[in-house]
């Protein structure tokens, strides 16, 4: 039956629908413009009145400006943890005792929360949500994190250019690296030594290259470090790269690629040797793989790649997939050196009402994967069993649904 959907939508595309008269549209536009002007005028009056009152107050109290306060940075977001859904990204900052969750609140804004004492998310300063812009986060070994932010937050919805910023633990942000005009960043990851950051890019919707450009992976030095920036182009047929994860050796980089096919999207995690020579490593004969896609759970025909994450110093990575019709997520560990699967695939029920597939995957300190679904947090122990979070690891479920 899904095969009939293109035909049905094609029929809808041809449907004769009533279009509002252009004159009525213009009249409504003029009405909106008048209203906007009135609002600006009212705001100006309010500002002038407010300024006068403040001046009067300062004069009356003999006050003046005090010492200049350090810039606190962008205002903290006001997350509503109970209504935060889905978890778009989650990472474990050192020492691994608090999940850092990037989610979407009920108003369609991105918010960052850190699961703190008692598992209660608290605001993380340094990132102001911008509607229509999808930020990414990655932890830095020093305890801060790298974020992507909207260089031009006032640009039309969805057209904001992404840039990179390093945020310290006190919320101070320093931008660095290039701005990615016409691109969207799908994932960022900081190398284990903190000296390099990798970013996966795809053409942004609405840009001149939308739908035609290749996905790329950029590796560049972080602030205070020197090095050469390098770019790897993901060759067709894939136009998607996501879920970057550095190996503990700081050399290999795992990411997920997706290939859009007639029947859906196939994908698998691959590992890139960033020290390999050549500016564009992927060749005509395939991917520059150290480990190929795990051949069981990851890489099944018709299954999107979803999530891949390197599991600490275990020499393994985990890949998560949700296949069509399965209503479950399957997590498989695989050797990063040759792509062979390690241990049994773990099936994670994902069919709770209102819950989608896997939202994010983060490695726990013990090297086990922590899966963040839209409706909760799942931890897998050494035996691949779903269990409660280990001691010292607190998490607040990005509940919602």
């Amino acid at each position: 039956m899904p095969d009939r959907l293109p035909e049905l939508f094609a029929e809808l595309r041809q449907a004769d629908v009533p279009v509002p008269p252009p004159g009525r549209v213009a009249a409504r536009g003029r009405q909106l413009r008048r209203r906007a002007r009135l609002q600006v005028s009212a705001l100006a009056v309010a500002v002038i009145a407010g300024t006068a009152l403040v001046a009067q107050f300062v004069s009356a109290h003999g006050g003046g400006r005090g010492p200049i306060q350090p810039n606190p940075g962008p205002r903290p977001t006001s997350p509503s943890p109970a209504r935060t859904t889905p978890a778009a990204r989650a990472v474990l900052p050192p020492p691994g005792n608090g999940l850092l969750i990037l989610g979407l609140n009920a108003h369609g804004q991105f918010v960052m929360t850190r699961a703190g004492s008692g598992g209660q998310p608290v605001p993380v300063p340094g990132l102001a949500p911008v509607a229509g812009f999808r930020p990414n986060i990655a932890t830095d070994p020093s305890g801060g994190w790298v974020v992507t932010y909207a260089v031009n937050p006032n640009a039309p919805y969805g057209s904001q250019t992404p840039g990179l910023a390093m945020v310290t633990t006190n919320g101070h942000a320093v931008d660095f690296g290039p701005v990615f005009t016409g691109k969207a960043v799908t994932s960022v990851a900081v190398s284990p030594d903190g000296k390099r950051v990798a970013a996966a890019l795809i053409p942004a919707s609405g840009s001149a290259s939308a739908g035609s450009g290749n996905a790329t992976i950029e590796v560049l030095p972080t602030p205070g470090h020197h090095g050469t920036s390098r770019t790897w182009t993901i060759p067709p047929p894939s136009n998607l790269a996501d879920n970057l994860s550095w190996a503990p050796d700081g050399r290999h980089l795992t990411y997920a690629v997706g290939v859009q096919t007639g029947g859906g999207i196939d994908g698998y995690p691959v590992t890139l040797d960033t020290a390999a020579p050549g500016s564009v490593a992927p060749g005509q004969s395939g991917w520059p793989l150290v480990g190929k896609g795990a051949s069981t759970a990851a890489g099944r025909a018709g299954c999107p790649p979803d999530v891949a994450a390197w599991l600490g110093g275990t020499g393994q990575f985990a890949a998560l997939e949700e296949c069509d019709n399965s209503q479950t997520e399957v997590l498989q560990r695989a050797s990063a050196s040759d792509g062979t699967t390690a241990g049994p695939a773990v099936t994670i029920p994902g069919a709770q009402p209102g819950c989608g597939g896997g939202g994010a995957l983060a490695p726990a300190p013990a090297g086990n994967p922590v899966l963040i679904t839209y409706c909760g947090v799942v931890y897998l122990d050494d035996h691949g069993r779903i269990t409660g979070l280990p001691g010292g690891l607190t998490a607040a479920a990005p509940a919602g649904g």
């Binding site: 899904p2 959907l5 029929e11 629908v17 509002p20 778009a88 969805g158 739908g211 999107p304």
Partner: protein, 171 residues
């Protein structure tokens, strides 16, 4: 140097019907769709100098229409739940084929995100990456919603085919 963009009238003539169809697919009500299109294009008219400078003005109006449709659909659903009744579909769309009415009725049974993703994928012909960028969400989520939405929509359309009078149960 940037070439001058289209005039608003040209833009409206070329895209209005597509935006009405887009809103119809999202709301299931042709009257609502027409209202949404009018509001959307009025907002574009109001700030046409900046909208026309976008790389894709149509993407801009589609996003606005999507946002308006989603908020309107939520309000309408709440109102229907409070009133304990379901608005009819076919009575609003006498000119539209039964297949299309069944498709739109099926779309209305889906969660909002699945519905939006399906409409952007099939009706607006956007790729998964473009949808992810347009909605500001991960591509993996788009794939997941697309995958589930396909199955659910196919089942809904099949059920509608089998029981054409079942629309009163659509949420």
């Amino acid at each position: 140097m940037r070439a001058p963009g289209p005039s608003f009238d040209e833009f409206y003539a070329g895209t209005a019907a597509r935006i009405v169809r887009h809103a119809y697919a999202l709301t299931g009500d042709i009257d609502d769709a027409r209202d949404i299109a009018q509001e959307t294009f009025a907002r574009a008219w109001q700030r046409w100098s900046s909208v026309s400078a976008c790389n894709s003005p149509e993407a801009w109006v589609r996003r606005v229409a999507t946002n308006l449709a989603v908020s309107r659909w939520r309000r309408a659903r709440t109102a229907r739940l409070l009133a304990g009744r379901e608005a009819g579909l076919a009575r609003h769309a006498p000119e539209i084929s039964t297949d299309t009415v069944a498709l739109v009725a099926g779309l209305r049974t889906l969660p909002q995100r699945q519905r939006t993703v399906l409409v952007l994928y099939y009706l607006a012909d956007l790729s998964v990456d473009q949808i992810a960028a347009e909605l500001g969400c991960p591509a993996g989520s788009v794939k997941s919603w697309l995958s589930r939405g396909r199955v659910a929509l196919a089942a809904a359309v099949r059920a509608d085919d089998a029981n054409p009078t079942s629309e009163a149960s659509h949420a």
